[in-house]
Amino acid sequence: MPKTPLTFTLNDGEVAVFVDPGASLIDVLRRGVGDLTPKQGCAQGTCGACTVLIDGKPHLSCLTLAETVEGRRIDTTAGLAGGPNLHPLQKAFMEGFSAQCGFCTSGMLMASKALLDRTPNPTRDEVIEAISGNLCRCTGYEPIVDAILSAAQQGGAR
């Protein structure tokens, strides 16, 4: 089956890969490019663990056709820290015990980054709305919401 060439920006780097027609973005990121930070929990758009930012907006990479990101910018958790310096959201998640198994964390971070980039000082309701597409089975969400609010106070929209 002929493959399709695809170029896009991934966390400040240029990426060029050949993809199977119909491949999902998460498969291209994980198996094609080797960025393993988006996690696949359901492959049907319900859990949000695969959330990445496409041109700054959160998308479910399991339901995104890879070919549609041609020429666009993708951000994943792999690019969240600036070198050794963690993003305020990452620090807040660490200090707030906002992850237990860690499987939903990448998606939570991406969804909350999209929120803080757009709304630097969100209300609690806005935070809850922003992560409403992300399921977490361990924490009960409260530590995650607290961490996002805490990151916002420390200038999370970096």
Binding site: C47, A49, T77, F97, C101, T105
Partner: protein, 612 residues
Amino acid sequence: MTSIEFRKDLFADERDDTLKEIGKPTIRQDILGHVTGRTPFYDDHQFDGLLHMRAVRSPHHHAEIRRIDISAAEKMPGVRRVVTAKDVPNNLNTLLSLINFGRDDEPLCAHDKVRYKGETVAWVIADTERQARDACAAVRVDYSVLPHVLDVEEALKPDAPVINHIYPNNTFDYHDRYDHQKLRFGDVNAGFARADHIVEAEYQMSPIEQAPIETCGAIAAPETNDRFVCYTNTQALFFSLGTTAKLLNIASSRLHFIGGTAGGGFGGKVDSIVEPTAVLGAILTGRPVRFAWDRAEEMQVGAPRGGERWRIKDGVMRDGRIVAREFSGFFDSGAYMRLSPYAIIKATGHIPGPYTIPNVASNVYCCVTNRTPATAMRGFGITAVDFAIECHMDRVAEVVGMDPIELRILNAYRDGDMKAHRRAAKNTALIECCQVVADKANWPLSAEARAQSSLRGGGGERAAIPETATDTEGRIGERRAGRVASTAPAGGTGKIPAGTASKGVSGVPVQNPDMQIDADRIGHRMGAAPTPGPTPARAPAPPPRAPAAPTPPASYQPPPAPPASYQPPPQPVAPPAAAPPAQTGPYTPAEPFSRGTKRPGTSPFTSGFRRR
């Protein structure tokens, strides 16, 4: 009996019990990996030439497999291998066989029949997951549909379909001969007879899916040293390794399991199914093979917390003291046993909850149905019975017109009290928990309830094991003439007198001869392992459903035996003729008792049936 010291007891004094960590976040040692996305979950290990394995699953709850045609699937693009039951070297196992508990009852891949919807009948290994899915759809299975049963008590009826010939009564066989787990402590019927109120109710807990965000999965690959590496998200790494070695008939030294990172588990990742499957794929293809459930499989075939039905009957005095408590439990194990019989042993150890009740009885059945097999989930075995017990405490409080928290404090166990499974209660704190909860909720408590303490008032009379009826072999459970049983007062075959724990556990047969050494060492008087007898007939009668409404106490006639007091007078040991009731010789019922036969004038408690 030599007492067993527990680590938590030995080190209790050395603990820093400031509890200052509670309610405060702490930095986890693995959190940096989580927030940077670098935590290596099993699927984050990449292999060149990775193949993908998918399962062909039964669309029926219960069906005979007549024929499996894999010829079309084998010709599909990308397909490397279609795998069926004949490719599994030792296709029968039970999870707890590694600790010698239960009979092998579950194939990794069904071959003669399917026993639940979604059971594996074949696998396809292909270059891509999509190709494997397409080829799975091309496997033709010719089923002959059988009647199925999805309710625990329906499964116990004599006309219920036999789901697995290995457990022909649709129940687990405790000690290879009892169709239920039994607990007897004192004489509940005597307790009911002197109670002011009888409170009965039924509680049902549905199966619950653990639903971790990461589904069960494993990747296995050949290593250069003739071993197979398996990256897995199992919650039980060595359990999975042992199970894989057994099913695939391969030395465990040839298996290299790497795990420890699970994207949520909650009990749903202990069943060791994906690991042997992936390793089998790697053995058959010589390539790295990934076998992972998708979300639909996780929900359909991922083993849930088993459903449980509990009936509780309490005898209560006007002042709120519970003097007798009786349980009937039906645990839905699903099509295979896995961990359910063990969960019931846990449940039985927990009965009658964190309360000191002088007369307790329970019969719990581990029922085979055509549902998805059940497994572990957070406190399994305890959760459902505790749900039932605490709901029931509220009902009792309503009946006696008492504050529900004060009722709990009144009946709470205290340090030194004897539990129904004949171990003294230690480190109890129910009273203190109730007091704190009442404070936090601004719930008014009487001064008397506030003054209570778990450290005071226990032991003494409350540490005594009451006289408990036995059968002719000295076993707890009123077995008579080898085929009948009930919870009716002992009719003359014998009683275990009030006394110490070591007398209370006499005659428990060991299943594994190795256990006899330990049993002797710690001084338990255990019998020899029973020899398997011929396949017994099915129980003749269904258990009745107990009335849900509280029964007026007037309908309970006092049994002929003298009611057991809270601390019964010392009784002479053992010889049946010396037991107080006038009846002598083995008790012979007018008609054989069986499960569900209600004896006039006694409780509707489902009585035990023991296999010969």
